[in-house]
Symmetry: C3
Subunit: 140 residues, 3 copies
């Protein structure tokens, strides 16, 4: 049983949805030594999040941003947590809807993802300055 854990600082990303599968894999090459196991990617923030979705057509990521903005709008009259800007409270809610971590099975030294699946960084703030991830891989 082996455990590997890395901290990864992602550079500033603009508000929206971004593919980060390759960055994650580069940060934890030890994953290739695991025959059966699990990878967790955890984001250490409350206004950005992680999810798994389509890794091909970038229009999917554009539509994610459009719809999440519709479903969790800014400047609604019932928000009371407003002093960090209009994008702040929606960012917190979007982060919990998408999720703070992804867990992906490892099989024969590789992420056992479907062919269309990739890991998204979901940046919900207008002006964040990079994001910190903790990446943990474990298995046999």
């Amino acid at each position: 049983m082996n455990w590997y854990q890395k901290e990864l600082r992602l550079p500033t990303a603009e508000r929206g949805f971004h593919l980060i599968t390759d960055s994650v894999l580069r940060a934890i090459p030890e994953l290739q030594t695991i025959k059966i196991g699990m990878l967790q990617v955890f984001i250490k923030h409350t206004s950005a999040s992680l999810t798994i979705n389509e890794n091909a057509d970038s229009s999917v990521r554009v539509d994610f941003e459009s719809h999440m903005n519709k479903m969790v709008p800014e400047n609604v009259p019932y928000y009371i947590h407003t002093y960090e800007g209009p994008d702040d409270m929606p960012a917190h809610i979007k982060a919990s809807l998408m999720g703070t971590s992804v867990q992906i099975p490892i099989t024969n030294g590789k992420l056992n993802l479907g062919i269309w699946q990739g890991i998204y960084l979901c940046e919900h703030r207008n002006h964040a300055s990079g994001r910190n991830l903790t990446i943990t891989a474990f298995g046999v």
Copy 2:
């Protein structure tokens, strides 16, 4: 420490929410040998998802489908990813809202679920043709 990993092909399910707890358990009987551990069920697709919810009254699953269609509608003017049909982009968004995996504690050879909890396959497409799961159980 033991690790077990299985691939399970679920047959075609109609659009909606479906209980799959029994299918998952049948696919990984080794779970019964684990005293303390974890089960992960991972779906290898981006337009179907997994969640845990009520295992009894099927009307709950009907209302899930109704409300998710309201919350993530088809044919909204701001979608640009439309060439795979009107149900495609909503399916991607619903999949990330529900989630790509569930993690359930194992205790004394059984899933440690609440009495009303079951695993749902959430099929968000009109015409999918079966779905692939990776099921991983590990523990002592």
Copy 3:
């Protein structure tokens, strides 16, 4: 490799979002012996949920409740699962949107959370009477 698993009964909480990080940590002091590992908190119910979000300003938790009630309203005409009260079916949907478990990396005997992150109990019912968690920590 060590595994620890505890059952925790949370006392009755009013409908809304509540910080429970301290209660979770008190229930599993063995976490402090783990250098690299994972904590899972799992809620054994289908009308309450768990998420990770801001641990400081309580106005964030108030706005979560306001917006989730808007996004998943009560008394909509298409619900058919209504015999347990108007708050029941929305509670099921909110529970799946937020999620049934959180997984948090452990590093050097502590939860490796960002400084603003805490664990929320999301109580979606008007009159629940306490909630049961299964807490599992494992690692080396």
